[in-house]
C-alpha cells in the first residue's frame, strides 16, 4: 500500500460542513418531518438515489440522514427526519428560513449504471416504516418515466396508520394506474383504516412477478430484511436481483471512525446500498 502524505485538495475540508437553508417544512407524523432545503454554496447536490448527508447542527453534532429527493440539477433537496436521537429531536424543531449544515452526499447509492441496468425490468420496492424515505429518491425518479420499466410495484408497510410517511404522494402513486402499483399494509389498523392489516411479508405473494426480469429493493427496520428476503427467494427471485440499504451508526461518514462497519464493509463507503449477494454471508449485515 503506498501512502500519500500530502493532503489532497479535496480532503482539506473533509470535516467542514456547508451551510444550507430550510425552504419549507411539512409535518408528516408526530415524530417525522419533511424538509425542503435550499443549497447556499453550490448549484446542486449531484447525488445518486440512496446516498445520504451528514446533517450538522453546531453545538449538537451530526447525524446521517438519507436524501429523500431524486437527483436534480436544481438547488434544492429534500429530507425526512424522524425525531429519535439527540440531533434529530432538535432538528425537527427547525422552521422555514432556519439554517443548518451538511456534509456529503456520501455513500454508494444507485449509480447511473445500476439504474440503467434496471430499465425494462419489474421494480419491486419493499419498504418498511421510515425505510420509505431513503428509497423515495429512487421511486420518484422512476415513476417520472414509468414506461422505461416493465412494472413498478411499491409495497409499503408501517406499524401504525398514523406513522405512514408521504401520505399525499402515496395517494397520487396509487392513482397513477398503468404499470405502477402500490400496496400498503399496517401492523395495526385504526377505525378509519380500510386497507390491509398485517406484516409486509403477507403482501409479497400478492405481487405478480416473473423472476427472470425483476429487481427487488428492500429497506426497512433491521428485523424486516431476513423475512422479506426469504419470501422473495421462495418466489424464485434471484439473489443478485435483490438490493438492500442498511442503516448504521455513523460519526465521520468518510470511512474512518469505524462506527458503521458491517463486518469488513463500511456502510458509509461500500454502502448503504448493497447487492444482497455482497452481504448474504456477512454475519453482521442482516
Amino acid at each position: 500500500m503506498s501512502v500519500q502524505l500530502d493532503i489532497k485538495e479535496k480532503d482539506v475540508n473533509l470535516y467542514l460542513p456547508e451551510k444550507v437553508r430550510i425552504k419549507r417544512v411539512e409535518e408528516f407524523t408526530d415524530i417525522d418531518k419533511f424538509f425542503e432545503v435550499e443549497l447556499l454554496e453550490r448549484d446542486s447536490l449531484k447525488h445518486n438515489p440512496g446516498q445520504f448527508l451528514a446533517v450538522s447542527l453546531p453545538g449538537i453534532g451530526e447525524a446521517p440522514i438519507s436524501i429523500a429527493s431524486p437527483p436534480s440539477d436544481g438547488n434544492t433537496f429534500e429530507l425526512c427526519v424522524r425525531a429519535l436521537g439527540e440531533l434529530t429531536n432538535i432538528f425537527n424543531k427547525l422552521k422555514a428560513g432556519d439554517e443548518f449544515y451538511i456534509r456529503g452526499p456520501f455513500g454508494h447509492g444507485f449509480d447511473d449504471d445500476i439504474i440503467k441496468s434496471m430499465q425494462g425490468k419489474h421494480l419491486l420496492f419493499i419498504l418498511g416504516g421510515c425505510g420509505y424515505s431513503p428509497m423515495r429518491s429512487l421511486i420518484n425518479l422512476v415513476i417520472k418515466e414509468p414506461q422505461k420499466y416493465k412494472k413498478i410495484s411499491i409495497l409499503y408497510g408501517c406499524r401504525m396508520v398514523k406513522r405512514r410517511l408521504y401520505v399525499n404522494e402515496l395517494g397520487t402513486i396509487s392513482n397513477m394506474g398503468g404499470n405502477v402499483e402500490l400496496m400498503q399494509i399496517v401492523d395495526k389498523g385504526d377505525e378509519d383504516w380500510e386497507g390491509e392489516v398485517g406484516l409486509i411479508t403477507t403482501l409479497i405473494p400478492k405481487v405478480s412477478l416473473d423472476p427472470e426480469d425483476i429487481v427487488a429493493i428492500v429497506v426497512g427496520p433491521p428485523v424486516m430484511y431476513k423475512y422479506v428476503i426469504k419470501k422473495l427467494l421462495n418466489r424464485d427471485v434471484k439473489k443478485e436481483d435483490i438490493y438492500v440499504s442498511l442503516e448504521r451508526r455513523m460519526k465521520c461518514s468518510v470511512g474512518k471512525c469505524g462506527h458503521c462497519q458491517i463486518g469488513g464493509f463500511y456502510a458509509c463507503q461500500q454502502g448503504p446500498v448493497f447487492r444482497y449477494t455482497d452481504v448474504e454471508d456477512n454475519e453482521e449485515a442482516l
Binding site: 500530502d6 473533509l14 467542514l16 460542513p17 453546531p58 448504521r248 451508526r249 474512518k256 463486518g263 453482521e284
Partner: protein, 341 residues
Amino acid sequence: MDRVFKATKQEMLESLDRCMSTYRVAALTNKDGRPMYDFVTSSKQVILEYRPTVLPPKKFFFPPTETILEYSKDGKMKTVIEAEPLVLFGVRPCDINGIKILTEAFADVNGDPNYLSRRENAIVIGIECAKKCDNDDAFCTKVNAHKVTTGHDILLADLGDDYLIKEATDKGTAFINEFLKVNKVDAKEFDDFIKRKEAAFAQEDSAFKDLERLPEIFSKSNEHPIWNQEGERCLSCGSCVMVCPTCYCFDVKDQWDLNLKDGKRVRQWDGCMLCDFAVVAAGENFRNTKEARLKHRMNRKFNYLMKKHGQAVCVGCGRCVRACLVDISPKTVVEALNGEA
C-alpha cells in the same frame, strides 16, 4: 536515500537539544517512575533503554481528543488542524509498524487532514531492537512486526556507545543535515546489525502458522468456540482499544464553550469493544454481545484490515494483553483459529 551514518549517542541526544528551537521533541521518558512517550524539554529526560509503555506513540498523531472544527453562534465556522513540528524520538519496530498502518488507514480513500498534517509535520526517529524487549506479553515476532519497512523517517541501531543512523525519507535526511554531526559509513554496517538482530529474534517464537492466510482462516471461523470462550470473559471496558497502536475508531462530539457563543467539534478515541459502539438512534445495537464485539475487533486486526494493509494489523506489542483485566490476548485467539493451540 538509505545512506547510513554513525554518531555517538551523546551527539544524537545533543541533536535533540539543538532541534528544540524548531521542533517540540517527544521521546521515551520517565514520569512518576513510569516509562512513557511524552514531550521533553531536555535530552537529559530521554530514556534510551526501552521499557514497555502503557500507551503507544500513536497519541502524537491521533490524540485522545482533538478539535476538528470551531464555530460560533453568529455562523462562523472553520476547520482546525492542530499539527505542530514534532520530533518523535525512540520509536520501536512494533510502534513503527503501528504508525505505518495508521498512516495508511488515514490516507486511504479520503485523506484525513488532521492525522496527515500531524504526521507530515513530524520526524519519526525509530530505534531497532537488538533483541526482544523485556515484556512477556509481546509477540511481535508472531506477526513479523519486529521487522521495519516504512513508517519512520530515520532509523537508528544501537551499537553501545554509538548509533548507526539510516535515513529513510527526505525529512529524515534534512534533519540529519541540519542537526547532526555524523560520519558516513558503509550501509553494510546496518545490514549486518539487522542480520545479528534477526538471529537474536530467531531464538524467539517464529511467526504464526499460516500468518499470510489468517484473513481466509478468520473468514471461515465465525462459528468457532473461541469467540464465546474469550468473549464471555470480556468486561467491555475498552482498555484494549485505548492502548492499541493500530486502533483508530473515534467518536465526534460538539461542545459549547462556557461563553455559550463559541463552540467546537472534537473527536475522541472510541472503541468497538464498548457496549454502545454500534447503537443507532432507534435503539438497535448492531453488535450487542461481547462475543460479537471481540470477533469484530479481531477480524479487523487479522482479516478485514489485514487484507488492505498486507500485514497483520496487530503489531504484537502486547499492550492490550497487559491492559486486559481478564487476560484476553489476540495470540490466544489466533492460535485457536489456526490450529496452533
